[in-house]
């Protein structure tokens, strides 16, 4: 009797090796795949909690960014401070959330305002010391129910600065780091002198980890880190955040961005760093059900903008060039709702040329001497304007 049963069992096993293998491997694979889905948030929450303890020690987290980028503060405490600061603003937001109502059109209005201010921002006089380098326009945040993002409740504007109109040669010592959209700039904006390290699907997490990033000049995979250490660049343009929308949350993104900028600053102490806003997506592509929407993109942009100090790190918001009144990427500029058609990169090119930064020698000296001014000035880039 028993022998019969065993035989029967063997028959089943013999008849479905594939099902059994799939089920068996699933035991090992599923926990691994679970991780890819971006559950590392849990870890991140732990960081925020531990960060809270150090909150008393730093008065202003944002001001510290400039200092951190210079590599002065390289310990864990500073990171804790920055995270704590982020938590503070989150709490503030939550307080307000009760009285505020969802309103996407409100959002639209603000972005239109943003458009106007954008234009004036380019022409205004150099900012006074007490003025903030990067301005934010606040709006009523909507409630979001995502582990990847929350509504930032504000829109970041291009860092206020007395930009100069430059020509092509400005970009001869520039390097662009980014994803498929930067690839578009490489292909169609015509900055022939600049170096481009970009790949489809690049993320801020992979940028310094990948051993092979495509150098668009040669089309070959190279070790970007080596080149960045050897060659000296005058400008670094970085635009990453689209492929991060569904991977980790915004504080994690900001933390990693900071880490990357710090590393870049170490390798390129003289370079002007441009943090470029991620372009919004079209109305059709905007999906509130998933993490792929403009609220999330804006959340990432606001986070990235807080890294700008108006001295050697600048935030450039190209969105007003291509978006409609409600902040959607204009449908006629794009096929897939994400990337611009080749011919529209000209506009982007002009925009980047209009935002040249020429530092006077005294300014340069200040920066390289590691003046703590930025850190002391509690208003710089505080991000609550």
């Amino acid at each position: 009797m028993r022998g019969n049963k065993t035989k029967h069992l063997w028959e089943i096993v013999y008849n479905c090796p594939f099902i059994i293998l799939v089920l068996f491997t699933a035991l090992f694979m599923l926990p691994f795949f679970h991780k890819i889905e971006g559950r590392e948030n849990d870890k991140n929450i732990a960081v925020i909690k531990s960060g809270n303890e150090g909150a008393d020690e730093c008065t202003d987290g944002v001001g510290l960014f400039a200092k951190m980028l210079e590599g002065d503060l390289n310990n864990d405490k500073s990171e804790a401070c920055y995270v704590a600061n982020d938590v503070q603003s989150d709490e503030e937001k939550k307080e307000n959330e009760g009285t505020r109502k969802k309103d996407i059109t409100q959002n639209g209005k603000n972005i239109r305002q943003n458009n106007n201010i954008q234009k004036t921002a380019i022409t205004v006089k150099p900012p006074k010391e007490e003025e903030r380098a990067t301005k934010f326009i606040e709006y009523t945040p909507t409630e979001t129910n995502s582990r990847y993002y929350s509504d930032a409740g504000k829109v970041a504007l291009t860092t206020t600065y007395d930009y100069i109109l430059e020509n092509d040669s400005y970009f001869n010592d520039a390097v662009f780091l980014g994803d498929s959209r930067t690839l578009g700039i490489s292909d169609y904006a015509g900055f022939d002198g600049a170096d481009f390290f970009c790949d489809n699907g690049m993320t801020i997490y992979k940028l310094l980890e990948d051993t092979g990033v495509t150098w668009q000049r040669t089309g070959e995979k190279v070790d970007m880190k080596e080149i960045l250490q050897e060659k000296s660049y005058g400008k670094i343009y970085i635009m990453l955040g689209m492929n991060e929308l569904g991977y980790g949350d915004t504080p994690m993104y900001l933390k990693q961005y900071l880490k990357v900028l710090r590393q870049l600053r170490e390798w390129q102490p003289e370079a002007i760093i441009y943090v470029m806003a991620n372009l919004h997506v079209s109305r059709e592509k905007n999906n509130m059900e998933s993490e792929f929407n403009n609220i999330n993109i804006n959340d990432k942009n606001v986070a990235a903008a807080r890294l700008a100090n108006g001295k050697d790190v600048f935030y450039l918001d190209c969105n007003p060039l291509f978006t409609d009144e409600e902040g959607y990427l204009q449908a006629e500029l794009t096929f897939d709702g994400v990337h611009l058609y080749a011919q529209h990169y000209d506009k982007w090119r002009t925009f980047l040329m209009e935002h040249g930064v020429e530092r006077t020698e005294s300014e340069e000296a200040k920066v390289s001497a590691g003046e703590t001014e930025a850190a002391e000035d509690s208003t710089v880039g505080a991000g609550e304007g």
Binding site: N15, C16, L30, I36, D187, F335, Y341
Partner: protein, 472 residues
Amino acid sequence: MLFSSVGFLFRFLPIFIIIYVALPKYRNIILLLGSLIFYGVGEPYFVLLLLLSILVNYGLSRYMFWEPRSPQTNRRQKTARRKKRALALAAVLDLSVLFVFKYWDFTAKSVNSLAGHDYLPLLALTLPLGISFYTFQMLSYQIDCYRGTVEKQAGLLTFAAYICMFPQLIAGPIVRYGEVEQRLLDRKVRIRDLENGLKLFTAGLGLKVLLANQIGTLWNSIMTAGAGRLHTLVAWLGAFAYSFQIYFDFWGYSVMAIGLGKMLGFSIPRNFNNPYVSRSLSEFWRRWHMTLGRWFREYVYFPLGGSRKGRMRTVFNLFVVWALTGLWHGANWNFVLWGITFFLLISLEKRTYGKWMERNAVFGHMYTLLLIPVTWVIFGITDIGQLAGYLENLIGLHREKVLVGTTQLFRYLREYALLLIACVIFSTPLPGKLYWKWKDRWFMVLFLLAVFWWSVYEMMSGSNNPFLYFRF
């Protein structure tokens, strides 16, 4: 829910299969409920439309089979009249639902632009998932009942299960009732069927995720750069990439459907038979989306008289069939144009060089391989201005400055070389033959296991990579 999603693979499917196998007495009701959940997850409201549509169609088919008790004089005549009435009503109702959801805005826009005034309002309705497929399936049932092909009417549960069964609900194949009737009434689920079904499903999943989705990014990046500004070779590369994408996408889906059907104890008909090795466009359509071709042939072309009513009538019949085939694929002028292109080319083939081409295989293959990508470009670009630009680029005309030139061409070739080779190989009958020959050998089992997990990996990382292009 899509087959190539984590939710389907690791939640819905295993739970469903366990319940389905464990309760053999209630298979149809489990199948129906499971399918409604499968559909309802993505379309919580339209599932009601589906149910309503099933009830109405079931009622009408009952009416068709209804026999009055009392003896009547001209009984046969009355039955015929009743059947006709029921069929007409079913056709009108089913097609008007399809029309309102799928074609109303298109018609309204066309009328308004012709009249130069906004007479008809736009409704901007969302298209219920799979409505084109299940409408056609219901109509095929009604027509088969009318013709007597279906001899014994299905019960409500059987009919609902036949329409809703999730393997083929949202993207075909369009199954005829006669093909699954026996299995619907009584079916066994054997362990071998589960095994072979899952293998087939995996093969389809691989085609969809590892070939279609991957090559789709090439077409997408070319279109993203902008039609009308492409180097001629880039335009051709894009056309081929899109041809591969659409084939592997749809073929993969059909294979997954057949595999799932097998797991549940059904044999769902084949939908593709190596279409890209055809020697003419007529042959192509005998091998591409075969269940749709069959539908139009049996329910439109033959009733119109096919090719038996003289030359002019044949041409007219072909025109009707192709215009409708075009429109079925989408409510837009480019789909009409796509259908008309096939009408012109196939009529031309039939009248002139078709026979000659079947004999001269080399020429026939080249002819098909050059024309098919062009037809897919017409299919793929809904904006008529862009379509014109792309077609001009294909024949070497450039009105705008070429922005996507040889630099990008070489990059694309380098990036996609392996994938393109794989796509070419999988367009031949060879992989299919090897699969059927070796499907039970251990190395094929291991290969499929690798395909399975690789696909799952791509699917999951794809959710982090919004640039992947899904199209269902």
